[in-house]
Amino acid sequence: MILLYSSPEALLIQLKSWTVSLAPAAWQPVLSSAISALVILLLFAGIFALTTLVERKGLGRIQNRPGPNRVGPCGLFQPIADGVKSLIKEDIVPAAADRAVHFLAPLVVLAPAALALALIPLGPGLAAVDMDAGLLCFFAVGTASELGAFMAGWASHNKYTILGAMRAIAQMISFELPLVLSTLTVVMLSGTLSLSSIAQQQGSYWFGLPAWNVFTPWGLAGFIIFLIAATAESNRSPFDLPEGESELIGGFMTEYSGFKYAVFFMGEYFGMFAISGLTITLFLGGWNAPFSFLVWIPSFIWFLIKLGLMLAWFIWVRGTLPRVRVDQLMNFCWKMLLPLSLLNILAAIFWHFTASWQFPGAWGLRWAIGFGMIALPFIGISQSGARQKKWGPRIYRYAD
């Protein structure tokens, strides 16, 4: 076996096929899948461990605290300590709980999230599962985690967990709509459901600048809508109502402790990675470098850098914003995000059919019109909503 070096990605692929070729022919497909699964799980489990540490440290710095810094140099071994702690903690199952469902729920949350991770292409040819209907598959497996939330909430036999589960299901179902509708623009304009081809299509450069979807008006709006819906879908602040620790203690996870809780936690973070990866693939150019002179850096490095930036954004938002209320969340979804994502489809159609405009300044005009098609309704909806509810800054009077 000779490794032909053409690119780092090809090297990895060749390495894998060489390993697989060592096995007997009947076992080769199984081995191939197993290697892919192992790589995905190890990679993202490592990122998970790192993210918990970075999140705690980052939140600490945002809050003017040093964050965890006791275990190992700069607290680097904190995730290991956390893991050991959660493993040796007592696993408490409430006496009235449904033991089987209570046990299965964390797995039902974790498994679809891990499955969704397999679909994300980390580089050209570097997706564990590269299928024709990848995007469809992503959303299909994503829906299963709602069942996990229900199972956890119901099996714990606790009113707070039931409320949390109801919130979780309602929120995830509602936000799936804008989430899917905002990806629809990308699917329409790229003409494929395959994630790697969508990423591939964003690989060209225009005077050294990338041709990512986010640099089009529909792409920008879709990116923002998708990001908001993704935050809600992965239960992150400010949409972390299913956990809602100030009102619902821990939501559907209230009655979980020890390693089951850690599995929930992991499932949530895997979900966040998956949806961040999807955001990157759909709108942020996938594995492509931002500038043409930087293409010598391997694609998966670019992907991981972008993933890091997405996670940093999630952490930053979590450190800043208070949580919205459940009815406001629903209103926001149905009255703001859904109409805007529908309008965004219109904007994408406009962008598509004006692609033939050739006169000077056509690009700018298209951009302005397309952007206005979403921005103006946004301003209108937000202001009418605020006026209706009488929300706004106030001026205070003083007693004489």
Binding site: I62, N64, R65, W316, V317, T320, S382, Q383, A386
Partner: protein, 207 residues
């Protein structure tokens, strides 16, 4: 417009994020076991008993008057007076216990003490493995020297020493006067000792 306030908040937290690396006044955390906090002079934790002349047993200023025991709001002080061989109480505590699991560090014993013998300490690393006996401080644990008092609270201790010296001088003067009176009338009956708030006259304050 919707979102502007959120962006403003995000910028503020970003400023704090970077600020906590660059501006030390933002990162106020003290890494406790390695860094110790410098406590201000007024800081108080739990009471201790002051002794003079490097003698933690005989040198205690406490005369076992039990005022602090009476005034202590949570009643955490227990005192027994020493008795001499004939069973007559002498001005020295036989037992002086403070249950610091009950003590609420209010300093009222210090304020009411007429002999400046009980003062507030500043140690705060007092964890013990037992909830009961380990947290009851006995006379021997409580006794600390006047030098120690000077060390933790220089200003206050200086004032106390001045005051004690003044009282002692006043008492010596008074004793002299009393002696003079005693000499003059031949029908000298033993005058009852005035309930002076001063410590025993032989007390010497180390320099």
């Amino acid at each position: 417009m919707l979102g502007s306030g959120i962006i403003k908040g995000l910028l503020e937290t970003a400023r704090n994020f970077f600020g906590s690396f660059r501006q030390p006044e933002r990162l106020v955390t003290i890494e406790y076991p390695e860094q110790q906090r410098t406590v201000p002079e007024n800081n108080r934790s739990f009471p201790f008993l002051v002794f003079d002349r490097n003698d933690p047993v005989k040198g205690l200023r406490c005369v076992s008057c039990k005022i602090c025991e009476k005034e202590c709001p949570p009643q955490c002080i227990y005192i027994e007076t020493e008795k001499d061989s004939r069973g007559k109480p002498i001005k020295h505590p036989k037992v002086f216990d403070i249950d610091i699991s009950v003590c609420m560090s209010c300093q009222i014993c210090v304020e009411v003490c007429p002999f400046d013998s009980i003062k507030m300490d500043q140690t705060y690393e007092l964890s013990q493995f037992s909830r009961y006996d380990a947290l009851i401080l006995h006379k021997i644990d409580l006794a600390k020297s006047n030098e120690y008092y000077h060390q933790i609270k220089p200003t206050e201790a200086g004032l106390v020493d001045e005051q004690l010296a003044a009282e002692r001088e006043a008492q010596i003067a008074k004793a002299k006067a009393a002696a003079a009176i005693k000499v003059a009338p031949a029908t000298a009956s033993p005058t009852p000792k005035p309930p002076s708030p001063a410590p025993p006259a032989k007390t010497e304050v180390p320099a």
